[in-house]
């Protein structure tokens, strides 16, 4: 790797980390920083421009955009992280079952994974939301149900590789079985790459999450969320175009932060192939 390349990877890591630190900070201290109640309606100051009492202006109901943006950071980040964690747990569980359950279980589980991967994820997510009705919960469930197979496949591969390592064989010979074997010997091998995948995927999860909010299929009004804010702003694209900027930029920055972090981590750990799941 050339000097320029190694400098570049450090830059991605630093930039991604800095953006994410800023967003996490905003989510944590947002309620203190927010100048107004994000749900408070001010009918006299509808669609106000930035400046003065409202730093980023007000929306169509006269709600403070800046406050809604800060509160939205909590929802977008916490929901995406929770969903990411749920996918990770489900993927680990299925991957371990396939990897340790013997050839027949492995075959059946992996065929199921293949079948799932034969269909476009966003469209099946729409199907789940269609069945349960639009809400934060059904959007999250839809994402979890459709994003786990990639993790399961990777975990299964890692488990199969780790199983043949000498110290794992030694542990099995000396009587380590079941959960003890998984916790003590296999999980430490499998968890780091799985966590890396999770950090890579969180960016695209935020994108999907806000997209569902934008369609009205995720977080429901009046809860402040970036995607929903964007879809409300859409109706005032000519009268108050500045409303488009803040929520869109927030989504973009959050996704960029995770993508840069992932890119940086991948190159720092020299896992070039890792991006091609």
């Amino acid at each position: 790797m050339s000097a320029v390349g190694s400098l570049g990877k450090n830059r991605s890591l630093t930039a991604g980390g800095a953006i994410l630190a800023l967003l996490v900070l905003a989510a944590l201290v947002g309620p203190v920083l927010a100048p107004h109640d994000p749900l408070r309606i001010d009918p006299l100051h509808r669609l106000a421009g930035p400046g003065g009492e409202y730093p980023l202006g007000t929306d169509h109901l006269g709600r403070c955009v800046c406050s809604r943006l800060l509160f939205g950071a909590r929802i977008s980040l916490s929901a995406s992280l929770a969903v990411s964690l749920a996918i990770l747990v489900l993927g680990l569980a299925v991957g371990f079952v396939a990897g340790l359950g013997g050839p027949r279980t492995d075959l059946i589980v992996m065929r199921l994974v293949d079948i799932k991967l034969a269909f476009p994820s966003l469209i099946l997510t729409l199907a789940v939301i269609g069945a349960l009705g639009p809400s934060l919960f059904s959007a999250s469930l839809g994402i979890v149900l459709n994003w786990w197979p990639v993790y399961a496949r990777m975990v299964r591969g890692l488990v199969l590789a780790a199983k043949e390592k000498e110290y794992v064989l030694a542990a099995r010979v000396t009587g380590s079985r079941g959960l003890k074997l998984v916790r003590g010997h296999l999980l430490p091998q499998v968890l780091p790459p799985a966590l890396l995948l999770a950090s890579l995927e969180t960016g695209s999860l935020i994108l999907v999450f806000a997209g569902l909010g934008f369609l009205g299929l995720g977080v429901q009004a009046p809860t402040p969320e970036w995607g929903t804010m964007l879809s409300e702003a859409r109706n005032y694209i000519y009268t108050a175009p500045h409303l488009l900027l803040a929520p869109g930029a927030a989504i973009f920055l959050a996704v960029l932060g995770f993508n840069l972090l992932g890119e940086g981590l991948r190159e720092a750990l020299n896992l070039k192939e890792a991006g091609k799941w």
């Binding site: 050339s2 320029v4 390349g5 570049g8 991605s12 065929r111 199921l112 293949d114 079948i115 799932k116 034969a118 269909f119 476009p120 994820s121 966003l122 469209i123 099946l124 729409l126 199907a127 789940v128 939301i129 269609g130 069945a131 349960l132 009705g133 639009p134 960016g203 994108l207 806000a210 997209g211 934008f214 369609l215 009205g216 299929l217 995607g227 964007l230 702003a233 859409r234 694209i237 000519y238 175009p241 488009l244 929520p247 869109g248 989504i251 973009f252 996704v255 960029l256 993508n259 840069l260 890119e263 091609k276």
Partner: protein
């Protein structure tokens, strides 16, 4: 290698079976009794008696397995029931909206190819050159850009500020440019990087070195040897990307009020119109499965090693 094709085709029935289970579950395991829901939607009486009669008519009093068989029998004939909101057959409703969705997806796909191949090839020819570095940076930025936001910004700039395109129209040929551009953007960012890696791999092959060593023109070598050999693996990536285009059209059609099937499906989800959602999911999944099957078969035909073994097998 003929074995590969047979295995590939044998894989189709279980995939379709899986799809049928998912779609059946969507309609029949949804919370709330579909019979009552349907009655309430149609504004009919909701007494216990009429609900029971209605359920018998719709076959909802039968066991789950019987219902699945009934449903499957109709679904294979593309009889997907009627929309709860309009009462029209779901099939007609979706098929009338499909051309717009397909047109959008294909245009975006064309734009993606037109950008991906030259960017991928040129940045592979000069790794770490300005184009390579630039396209790498742009790939991260564009892959992070929410296409629904980008679409709204485009719409504002072009239609309002510069008054070039008409945003609400979809009749003139030019009206497809902005939606297709929006849909293609994120995909192009990712795919051009993947194409670069494929081209890099091919360019380091022995036969490229041989061709250059024997004095062939560089341009000819790249176009005739490199491009041709990178094409087969790229085909798979493009097939997979088609699914993302179909998924992405859900958002882009909403942004641009594009009269496609995806927008119909989003409205159906919001109105709890299950049959329409189900019909859309079935059709899109079938298209995606079909595209990937075509890609795998096309790959087999493109790759001379596989093609020859097929011909040899037929003798």
């Amino acid at each position: 290698m003929t074995g590969y094709l047979i295995r590939r085709l044998l894989w189709l029935p279980p995939t379709l079976f899986g799809l049928s289970l998912i779609c059946f579950a969507l309609l029949h395991l949804a919370p709330g009794d579909p019979g009552e829901l349907l009655l309430r939607q149609s504004g009919g009486p909701s007494s216990a008696e009429s609900a029971a009669q209605f359920k018998a008519e719709m076959g909802l009093d039968k066991s789950l397995l019987q219902r699945y068989r009934l449903w499957l029998g109709r679904a294979v004939r593309l009889d997907l029931g009627e929309s709860f909101t309009t009462g029209e057959p779901v099939r007609d409703q979706i098929l009338s909206r499909m051309p717009a969705t397909i047109k959008l997806a294909l245009t975006a796909f064309g734009l993606m190819l037109a950008a991906t191949i030259p960017i991928g090839l040129l940045s592979a020819l000069r790794p770490q050159g300005w184009l390579d570095q630039g396209s790498r940076l742009l790939a991260v930025v564009f892959a992070s850009l929410p296409n629904y936001w980008f679409g709204l910004l485009l719409m504002f700039l072009f239609a309002r500020y510069w008054q070039i395109f008409n945003i609400v129209g979809h009749d003139r040929p030019a009206d497809i440019i902005l939606p297709a551009l929006t849909l293609a953007l994120g995909m192009t960012a990712v795919q051009s990087r993947l194409a670069r890696e494929r081209f890099l791999a091919v360019l380091s092959e022995d036969y490229i070195r041989t061709a250059l060593a024997k004095g062939l023109n560089r341009r000819q070598v790249f176009i005739r040897h490199a491009l041709k050999n990178a094409l087969a693996p790229l085909l798979h990536l493009w097939g997979a990307s088609f699914g993302y285009l179909l998924g992405g059209s859900i958002l882009v059609e909403t942004v641009f009020a594009w009269p496609g099937a995806a927008r119909l499906a989003v409205d159906a989800v919001l109105n709890r119109d299950y049959p329409v959602v189900q019909g859309y999911v079935i059709l899109m999944a079938l298209i995606f499965v079909g595209v990937n099957l075509a890609v795998d078969l096309g790959h087999a035909l493109l790759d001379p090693r596989i093609r020859q073994s097929l011909v040899a097998g037929e003798k």
